[in-house]
């Protein structure tokens, strides 16, 4: 079903985006837009963010060629953009440092965030500690249980973690609760939204803070291979690591942009987070985009082994890239992603985040399709330390018997 979504107005990517929020938040969104536009051309802001990238995050992140893993991608050349090596263990820090600096500029003393896997919450707690801001992180109760280690990390960093017990008790409910907090405390609080969705200017702003991933990677691939990659592959939860790595390649028509959504138990089972094959046009969390919803427009709960991809909606710019055909979206099931997780660990000594393992699963399929001459650039958005418990359970490595990955 294709619904008309509204007029092209402020902050649209084609039909998608916009500001579907209570009027009470509009002044804060307008202030944020003005401050971030000025900041992006202010040498002092740009210089400070650049200094933090180099001396705190560890940028530029390196490119790693993975030939032993590539044997499972039909011999295509596979290059990993190592966002997993960033401080705090994922790409999320790129966006958070930018937004935390903006919060300071706006004179806000408190930041709030939602988190699913906990990586965005950890990054926000980290930036808050670094810059002396109070920090509250909302996390669905289900996620606090499956990512317990990250809850402890956030608390060690001085953040208050609030377990959300409404609705499905996962990421979407954490976003609802963060938005409620923001409406009530907008005077002194900035909402550090963790991905490329939400009301404008968040989708564009978060993308711009992650754009550095693709800017670095494009130059690194040219340097190493002497040509552009055939495909750029990234997992898509809300879609921030994907927009970050895609954006610099948008004008390179020869480069295929491939987003991999969470297929959960399989799209045909209904238990998944594949918004582009199982969802439809709608509005959620402030943006017109693709949403998993029933015939009445009630949100359908998503399912994935990966907490960071377990979200029923997706950033509006991805919806636009999907409908225009500039990017393609596929899905990898839990089992396919876990197989890719196992393979990268065993062949290259790199434990990927389960989110990123979905992109690796996508690379295995694309390698088959494109053959050994292809060059595949994969966003390794995070490291798997947070997922050790989930993966060990998946592979049966806990308990008395020795076990072992098959």
């Amino acid at each position: 079903m294709t619904a008309a979504l509204g007029s092209p107005g402020i902050g649209r990517f084609g039909d998608f985006g916009g500001r579907y929020v209570p009027e009470a938040l509009i002044p804060a969104l307008e202030q944020l837009d003005e401050v971030r536009r000025k900041a992006l051309v202010d040498p002092e802001f740009v210089g400070e963010l650049d200094r933090l990238h180099r001396t705190y995050t560890g940028r530029p992140s390196i490119l790693t060629e993975v030939p032993r893993f590539a044997e499972h991608c039909a011999g295509a050349r596979v290059l990993l953009k190592r966002e997993d090596l960033n401080h705090t263990g994922s790409h999320k820090i790129n966006n958070v440092l930018g937004q935390a600096l903006l919060a300071k500029r706006m004179g806000k003393r408190r930041v709030i965030a939602e988190t699913g896997a906990g990586q965005h919450g950890v990054a926000t707690a980290t930036a808050a500690a670094l810059l002396g801001l109070d920090c509250v992180v909302y996390m669905g109760k289900v996620d606090t249980e499956r990512q317990a280690l990250n809850v402890a990390r956030m608390r060690l960093l001085g953040a208050e973690v609030i377990a959300v017990t409404n609705g499905s008790q996962t990421l979407k409910d954490a976003v609802n609760e963060a938005l409620r907090d923001w409406v009530a405390n907008v005077d002194d609080t900035h909402y550090v939204l963790g991905t490329v969705t939400g009301p404008y200017p968040f989708p564009e702003m978060v993308r711009d803070f992650h754009r550095i991933i693709g800017v670095e990677a494009r130059a690194q691939v040219l340097d190493l291979v002497g040509r552009l990659p055939d495909a750029v592959i990234a997992c898509v939860g809300g879609g921030s690591n994907a927009m970050g790595i895609f954006h610099r390649f948008l004008d390179d028509a020869s480069v295929r942009l491939v987003g991999v959504e969470a297929g959960g138990d399989g799209v045909e089972t209904g238990r998944h987070a594949a918004r582009f094959s199982g969802g439809s046009r709608g509005v959620l969390h402030g943006a017109a985009t693709y949403v998993l919803q029933d015939d009445d427009g009630q949100t359908i709960e998503s399912h994935s082994v990966s907490a960071g991809l377990d979200y029923p909606s997706v950033g509006p710019e991805h919806a636009h890239l999907f409908e225009t055909g500039r990017a393609e979206y596929r899905s990898a099931t839990d089992a396919e992603a876990m197989e890719a997780f196992r393979l990268l660990s065993r062949t290259e000594g790199i434990l990927p985040a389960i989110e990123s393992a979905h992109a690796l699963a996508g690379a295995m399929v694309l390698g088959q399709e494109l053959g050994p001459d292809a060059v595949l650039l994969v966003s390794l958005s995070g490291r798997g330390d947070k997922d050790v418990h989930t993966a060990a359970r998946w592979f049966g490595l806990l308990g008395d018997d020795e076990g072992g990955m098959p």
């Binding site: 579907y20 509009i26 002044p27 009445d296 009630q298």
Partner: protein, 267 residues
């Protein structure tokens, strides 16, 4: 604005103004605790004295609502409420003698089809729609449908609204303007606070439409206080709680108390 015939809701507000008092607007979510239970509750609050009913549509992601309404809407959804039931509730309110506005998050309207939603609401006798997560800037399709079907689009203003935003919101409203009393979500509060009177005064400076105040009003004294400066007093969470705890008779009694309150305001 090229307003045609005033809606029933608009006429009810005008009649209250004639009487020299604020209107009482009571919110209840359709389908809570069941569809039949919600229809009974609507009849009870009309009997108790609400002038206008605000029929809430339960939504899976109610980001403007506090815990009381969240729980009620979760119950309604679990019990199988559908958007079709909304029109049944609207018709029931009108049959009981009170004009009805629907309060709905935008995705539910979008999903049904904006024009179809408007047509169904008009057929049920509804007066308009309050849209908590739709700002006029995104509402061109809805504004056209509302005009076509002679429904009142009601947008919100808030204490944070600048003069420019107040102008944008009120220019798009028909029937009345919904002024949020505080920065926050629905829920009962110990006091309504000074921000409400201020936002009403600033809204009146840019529009002649009635200005109704919602969020936080829970008892007779608060209703009287808000009725001193507003054209309508909107009560939600307190009614939902009364319904939850004491059923239709309790919610009817609270409506009667609140109706007495709005008559004391400018006594």
């Amino acid at each position: 604005m090229t307003s045609t015939t005033p809606s029933a809701g608009s006429s009810a507000l005008a009649a209250c103004r004639e009487e020299g008092r604020a209107a009482l607007i009571g919110y209840l979510p359709v389908g809570f605790p069941t569809l039949a239970g919600s229809l009974e509750a609507i009849a009870a609050i009309v009997e108790g004295g609400v002038d206008i009913v605000e029929v809430g549509v339960p939504y899976s992601d109610p980001l403007m609502d506090g815990p009381v309404i969240q729980r009620a809407t979760e119950t309604a959804l679990a019990a199988g409420m559908t958007v079709d039931d909304v029109f049944t509730a609207v018709a029931a309110s009108v049959a009981a003698g009170a004009p009805a506005y629907v309060m709905s998050y935008w995705n539910l309207i979008l999903r049904r089809g904006v024009d179809r939603f408007a047509a169904d609401l008009a057929a049920a006798g509804g007066s308009g729609v309050i849209t908590p997560d739709l700002i006029p800037d995104e509402a061109s399709e809805w504004l056209e449908a509302a005009r076509r079907h002679d429904l009142d689009p009601v947008f919100l203003v808030a204490p944070s609204s600048t003069t420019e935003r107040l102008s944008v919101a009120t220019a798009a409203c028909r029937g009345f303007v919904y002024a949020a009393s505080t920065m926050g979500v629905t829920g009962t509060r110990a006091s309504v606070g000074d921000a409400a009177a201020d936002v009403v005064a600033r809204t009146r400076a840019v529009t002649d439409l009635p200005v109704c105040v919602g969020l936080g009003v829970s008892n007779r004294a608060q209703a009287a206080e808000v009725a001193r400066y507003a054209d309508g007093v909107i009560v939600g969470s307190a009614l939902v709680r009364a319904l939850d705890e004491g059923g239709p008779s309790a919610v009817g009694r609270l409506a009667a108390e609140l109706a007495a309150g709005v008559r004391e305001g400018r006594g």
